[in-house]
Amino acid sequence: MSLSIMLSQLSVGMVRAVGIFALTLLFSLPLGMLVAFARMSKNGIIKNIARVYISVLRGTPLMLQLLVVYFAPFYLWHANIGGYRFAAVILGFTLNYAAYFAEIYRGGIQSVPQGQYEAAQVLGYSKSQTFFRIVLPQVVKNILPAVTNEVITLVKDTSLAFALAYQEVFTLAKQIAAAQTNFIPFVVAGIFYYVFNVLVAFVMERIEHKMDYYR
């Protein structure tokens, strides 16, 4: 197999890895906010559900979670899970990352001083105005370094879709390497993850820099 054929096969997997990455962020960032609110709820039941959710999702391997998400419909209801593979990958990643993002959001929200809420309250801001105009912008700045960490981990975690035999770049690299007894696919995959993360770090640094206008 020539290098160019190998690369073109692997590039399909790269696009899929980027797909997992982008869709996971798209869904888990907002879901994490909902979980964070649930976790901070005054309602004890909601709060404890969120607490257990976060604890389980952070306390068990993502690979195991992916298997559960994928195979549970079959074992529980004998459902046909034929066309469900990609959706299961995205669902599994989203549920897992939302738990991590929820805790980051919670820390960020709690680090905004009480005085900010009080100042807004006396000035007559509604609760939602206070949150979206006063609190959230400060939360975003506070949590950016922690979010960057998670996002970088996510780039590498996309390889765990291997567990569901989803043909992203790592799964393909392993298949090609085994079939061709060739080490090159692993090198290519490694370079892909590294370059991807250099880009992610660069973009996140730019965003952080943009927030530097205040302290």
């Binding site: 001083p113 005085g115 900010q116 009080e118 100042a119 807004a120 309250q121 006396v122 000035l123 007559g124 801001y125 105005q129 105009r133 006063i134 912008p137 400060q138 700045k141 206008y213 205040y214 302290r215």
Partner: protein, 254 residues
């Protein structure tokens, strides 16, 4: 005309009674200072008056409108949220720690609430905001961010922010306590200027000389009760209560 009236107010945190049957009223154009040791309840009184805390008992009235009204048992019953929102527009509060919004420029800090909450015309508000900043000696800081300012400048911005809402009464919660002594003077001067313009104000302060000079009326609180009240001359120069004398003796070096 009474701007603020508080009758028989009570407040407790757990077992601790912080306010025990406190009554006071503030007339239009009057400057009232509340003095007293830490834990005397004076800040709690201010926080209850500005709706940051809720009273357990008593009335809280702004210009005849009841924010809270005592029922037959004396318990405070608060007005509906919409009514409270309207009543809130009567007062402004200047915090000890300024509590400026760090992600907003000075001008936006002053302008946003009048535009967003009071739905006033943006250009008019901007003109007034710039005028207020000029008055505070900060017109060249309009585009600066709070972290770039000294504590005294930040406190002047927060005064401008409160004034931009055109309150009928302005509360100050130890406005100089977070400032270096040399920055204290500039804030006290701003408050004196406001008094000269007949702004109605209630000031919780530890600055005895300032309270004596600026106030029409002084209230000395201790242990959740008003121990002594009257004109500055009565309370500061000729106190009748032992507790007041003892407290003031610690400030004799002012």
């Amino acid at each position: 005309m009474k701007i603020l009236e508080i009758n028989n107010s009570r407040k407790h945190f757990g077992d601790l009674e912080v306010l025990k049957d406190i009554s006071l009223s503030v007339e239009k154009n009057q400057v009232v200072s509340i003095i007293g040791p830490s834990g005397s309840g004076k800040s709690t009184l201010l926080r209850c008056a500005t709706l940051l805390e809720t009273l357990d008992g008593g009335d809280l009235i702004y210009l005849g409108d009841y924010a809270a009204k005592a029922d037959e048992n004396g318990n405070a019953v608060y007005a509906a949220p919409e009514e409270l929102k309207k009543i809130k527009m009567n007062f402004g509060l200047v915090f000890q720690n300024f509590n400026l919004f760090p992600h907003y420029s000075v001008l936006k800090n002053v302008m946003e609430a009048p535009v967003l909450v009071q739905k006033r015309n943006k250009d008019e508000v901007k003109e007034e905001a710039m005028e207020l900043l000029r008055k505070m000696g900060l017109e060249d800081k309009a585009d600066a961010y709070p972290f770039q300012l000294s504590g005294g400048q930040q406190q002047r911005v927060s005064i401008a922010r409160a004034l931009a809402m055109k309150p009928n009464i302005l509360f100050f919660d130890e406005p100089t306590s977070a400032l270096d002594p040399e920055l204290t003077g500039e804030i006290l001067k701003v408050i004196k200027d406001l008094a000269a313009e007949h702004m109605t104000m209630v000031i919780v302060t530890h600055e005895m000389a300032f309270a004596r000079d600026v106030s029409d009326y002084i209230i000395f609180m201790d242990g959740g009760v008003i121990v002594e009240e009257g004109t500055p001359d009565q309370v500061i120069n000729h106190p009748t209560q032992e507790r007041t004398k003892l407290f003031l003796s610690r400030f004799k070096n002012d």
